[in-house]
């Protein structure tokens, strides 16, 4: 990186920490620390829930996803606006009325202590591990592309934010997320603009999108229906997006404390609801825009030489193995196809009959990339066989001018900070409110509660950094931890749906329904019958049906 990049990066990050500390004044009690005194307006809620959901991997992965698989990933968010409406109608008024600190506190009012404890432990285990991975996952990419030490990168990615998160609690988290969001969006807009500006003279946005379309990247809406009917393993299509995505968004925004904790900071029910509904309005256009940057980067590489595989560290390592000759052959074939593609793109406006050749060549190049990735995986056991997450940052570091590179590295780090800060705050609130205060028989004074709150925040911060450091040496575990969310979310949602809508069901029935359904979801996941989005629906429906059945059985035993 050039000196100007370092200056931009350091100034931006230092500015965020200073701003976070400046905004950290709050009442020294649980409500002040975890809920910012319940004073936030709707637009802070909106930016806070968006900043919490969008992690560093969102900005690294989404453009790469569009580059490799096309824009159909946007369908993943189609269920989100519907979920925002349901949460606004049913969840928000109950949480506000009961003045809870965490979503799980409500479960004690509705069911019993054991259901609350089980749900909060499920949350703490999955969120704690996934937050550690959300530090490590972007760190490995940044360190590979910039040559930074991975352990130091982990510390930058997950360490500095602890300063303002511990000092300022939920209020500092929300205000820094607002500032981060504007910088992130400006950075991404500049990246999109540069991708078009760097296209050859005479090639504009329309040509870039046409190039993407000819290579199948403009597949925004897909039905998942093939020659053999509906494909349940197809990850992203309009049905898995609307139905599976709805249940995923409902459980994430309705029952995950890292999100519930954001809109509980609102001063009224109205502010919470407006923040959520505005999220339903802007989320899809925002993701569409980020994916579009991926298509523009793809178009950019149609006019100049692109690497076969964007993770250059893996390529260099693989080139030292016995697979090197085969890799070199594939690379040569790819380069030839790439050069041919550039020639055809330059002629296609005058000769539209070339469109079929371009599409066929695009397919050939895509298969060459897959073969290359497979060979890398075989020659380097434990290495990632996908380079999706490397594409955007490769484009940034190799093609954008100095200054902008520093800004975009800062964007990735800030995106990480926003979601990690909210996660730490929610992990601490659930630990203090749902576990520590419940398991202590003596009442805890307000001052002591406040001390516990910041200590737990610091403790979780250190734990997540430790997970990131260990993950560095445990490549294969990462994927397993990443699917944890999908495995637990459906069941947690099921518990809440029973709580809200099945008034006759009591604590013991829902507790055992949750345990049994969790076993079922893990079994279905291991059998690889459906793609992960459907697990949310299976988990929620399983808890609902089993809880009703167990309650019915208990009632019939009590009154034969």
């Amino acid at each position: 990186m050039a000196t100007i990049d370092w200056i931009v990066l350091v100034l931006t990050l230092a500015g965020i920490i200073t701003y976070g500390l400046f905004k950290s004044k709050h009442s020294k009690n649980l409500e002040g620390y975890f809920l910012g005194g319940r004073t936030m307006p709707w637009y802070i809620i909106l930016l806070s829930i968006m900043g919490t959901q969008a992690s560093a991997i969102t900005f690294l992965s989404a453009p790469g996803q569009a580059y490799t698989d096309g824009m159909r990933f946007v369908q993943y968010y189609f269920g989100l606006p519907l979920a925002m409406i349901i949460i606004s109608i049913f969840f928000v008024p109950i949480f506000h009325k009961l003045k809870v600190y965490t979503a799980y506190e409500y479960l004690q009012n509705r069911f019993d202590g054991k259901t609350r404890t089980l749900t909060s432990i499920l949350f703490l285990a999955s969120r704690g591990l996934s937050t550690g991975i959300s530090i490590y996952a972007p760190s490995i990419i940044v360190s590979a592309l910039l040559g930074w030490n991975i352990y130091i990168t982990n510390l930058v990615m997950g360490g500095f934010l602890i300063i303002y998160t511990v000092a300022g609690g939920a209020k500092a988290v929300a205000y820094t997320q607002r500032l981060q969001f504007f910088i992130i969006m400006s950075g991404m807009a500049i990246a999109g603009y540069m991708a078009v500006k760097l296209l050859p003279r005479g090639v504009g946005l329309g040509d870039a999108l046409t190039a993407g379309g000819l290579s199948g990247k403009m597949n925004i809406i897909t039905t998942g229906v093939g020659e053999e009917g509906f494909n349940w393993k197809d990850k992203y299509n309009i049905w898995s997006g609307i139905i599976g995505g709805f249940f995923l968004a409902l459980s994430y925004f309705g029952t995950d404390q890292s999100q519930v904790g954001r809109y509980l900071t609102a001063k009224t029910t109205r502010e919470s609801r407006l923040g959520l509904l505005m999220n339903g309005l802007v989320k899809i256009p925002m993701q569409f825009f980020i994916l579009l940057i991926g298509v523009l980067v793809f178009a950019f590489y149609q006019y100049r030489e692109a690497p076969v595989f964007f993770n250059q560290t893996a390529v260099e390592a693989a080139m030292k193995t016995s697979a090197a000759p085969q890799l070199a052959v594939l690379e040569k074939q790819f380069t030839e196809s790439s050069l041919q593609q550039t020639i055809w793109y330059e002629k296609v406006n005058a000769q539209p009959e070339l469109k079929d050749s371009i599409s066929a060549n695009a397919l050939k190049m895509s298969l060459l990339r897959k073969d290359y990735a497979k060979l890398i995986k075989e020659s380097l056991p434990g290495a990632e066989n996908e380079d999706t997450n490397y594409i955007f940052l490769y484009f940034v570091t190799h093609n954008l001018p100095p200054g902008i590179v520093g800004l975009l590295i800062a964007v990735i780090i800030m995106a990480a900070w926003g979601s990690i800060a909210a996660a730490l705050n929610s992990l601490a609130s659930s630990s203090v409110v749902d576990l520590h205060c419940q398991l202590t028989t003596q009442p805890i004074a307000e001052k002591e509660q406040y001390r516990l709150s910041w200590q737990y925040t610091l403790g979780w911060g250190l734990f997540c950094i430790a997970v990131a450091m260990f993950a560095t040496n445990m490549g294969s575990l990462i994927e397993a931890v990443n699917v944890l969310g999908s495995i637990f979310y459906g069941v947690i949602l099921g518990i809440f749906l029973v709580a809200f809508f099945a008034k006759s069901v009591k604590g013991t029935a829902v507790f055992w329904a949750a345990v049994l359904t969790e076993v079922m979801v893990i079994t279905v996941y291991n059998m690889e019958i459906v793609s992960f989005l459907w697990l949310n629906l299976i988990g929620a429906a399983g808890v609902w049906l089993l809880a009703l059945a167990i309650q019915q059985f208990q009632n019939s035993k009590a009154h034969p």
């Binding site: 946007v74 189609f78 606006p81 519907l82 925002m84 409406i85 606004s88 109608i89 999108l209 046409t210 993407g212 379309g213 199948g216 403009m218 597949n219 925004i220 809406i221 897909t222 309009i238 001063k267 009224t268 029910t269 109205r270 609801r273 407006l274 509904l277 339903g280 309005l281 899809i284 256009p285 569409f288």
Partner: protein
Amino acid sequence: MIEKEPSAKYWIFWYLVVLVFLILQVVFFSLLTNYFN
């Protein structure tokens, strides 16, 4: 300070806005997909 909650009509308006915007986006994306494929 207790603020008065907006009426049911106010919320129904917002729910419809979110729903209609979702439908419009799906229609727009379908048109884009057809145009470029």
